[in-house]
Symmetry: C2
Subunit: 229 residues, 2 copies
């Protein structure tokens, strides 16, 4: 456990990114909230410090935030994913892990949020892997946790996070971080290409939510107790 | 409740179809097991009667089985789906509901079971809807329940079945049948096109199962108690 290491969250002022920052800060981890605008990032960091007494949260411009720790979360809408990855090319460096949380909803191109776009590389995660600098490893995760639930600290979470990636070591480290959040269990879903299937869970849950007025999450049944070696 | 109505299962000698026949028979419903070969169908029906005292199970050739009740389950591998639907053209009739359970795994064309094929219509369920006679309504369901678990009556199920379809009435009737099976909850996942996303859950679970040596199922969290009106 590397408890002192800061966790950068690119797009940390968005709903998912902010919820993640809040929950990781609550778990005692320093977070670096990134935004296009450093002022908005610092404002969000202030809200984290207000809600979590003793939180170590700073707000920075995205590229600066991305240099602050070994595991960087990318929590931006799909329509901005490619632009953000271009902007991060000079910031990310060999050995870092990028956790891609983006979902190619058709809503990104004014279509429906219940439909998934076809991404030429296979998935948003694979697009990220294609765009990061050499030596940066992409792990795909956190597509199905409701940003609304994550952002409300009094909401008790109880669900799984499917994690995909080609590096077992990187997946294990990301799983460790996710498991710090009370009520989340990380499940190894396979190689990075599996992200194509996992990303499809988000429009599926949105479709279920529309019908049942809910914030549904996913839990897998029938798994053993110890999921990570 | 139409307790006397027979439930036809095309492909009822396969792992999923047989498990389904077993569980529905246990729930007190008459089942008509279909197979390419009437003899094999009758043999499977015999096994149902052996395991479920008092079961009303008959074995018939697929097309004959399909005429025996209003809601027909199609439980064949994807590589045989199109052929089966062609053979059922003269058997299915207006007003019937076809529950498509097929998943276009790449394994159907000697690829991996952790990968999903692209189906021109969008999904196996939409291919089914294109191929059934006019007036037959397709509902997509039962992609994520492990055939192995279903076939062992002493395995306690505890998972969800995502149901998709364009007819609310047909979905509701299928949900009612699925809910007869102890431990299964049917969840309305939206229109038939959502089947594309649901079918992706199967290769995803297979990928998880490979890693964790499990028979994983899916459960959605955060849903209200009453899912069907």
């Amino acid at each position: 456990m590397r408890q002192h290491q800061t966790i950068p969250i690119v797009g940390g002022t968005g709903a998912l990114g902010f919820g993640l920052a809040l929950r990781l800060a609550k778990a005692g981890r320093p977070v670096a909230i990134g935004s296009r605008d450093a002022g908005r990032a610092e404002e969000a960091a202030g809200r984290v410090r207000d809600q979590v007494p003793g939180a170590q949260a700073t707000g920075l411009e995205n590229a600066e935030a991305a240099t602050r720790g070994p595991i960087v979360f990318l929590a931006v809408p799909f329509r901005a994913q490619s632009e953000n990855l271009t902007n991060l090319k000079g910031a990310l460096s060999e050995g870092q892990v990028l956790v891609d949380t983006t979902v190619p909803l058709a809503a990104a191109v004014s279509g429906k949020a219940t439909r998934l776009l076809g991404v030429p590389q296979g998935s948003a995660a694979q697009q990220a892997q294609e765009m990061v600098p050499d030596g940066v490893t992409v792990v795909s995760a956190l597509h199905t946790v409701s940003a609304a639930s994550l952002s409300k600290l009094d909401t008790q979470l109880d669900e799984d996070v499917l994690v995909a990636g080609d590096s077992k070591d990187a997946k294990g480290r990301v799983a460790e971080l996710i498991s710090l959040i009370d009520g989340l269990r990380a499940v190894d879903a396979g190689k990075l290409e599996t992200a194509r299937l996992i990303e499809g869970l988000t429009p599926l849950l949105i479709s279920v939510n529309i019908r049942h007025k809910a914030h549904a999450g996913v839990k897998l049944t029938g798994l053993p107790e110890d999921l990570w070696p």
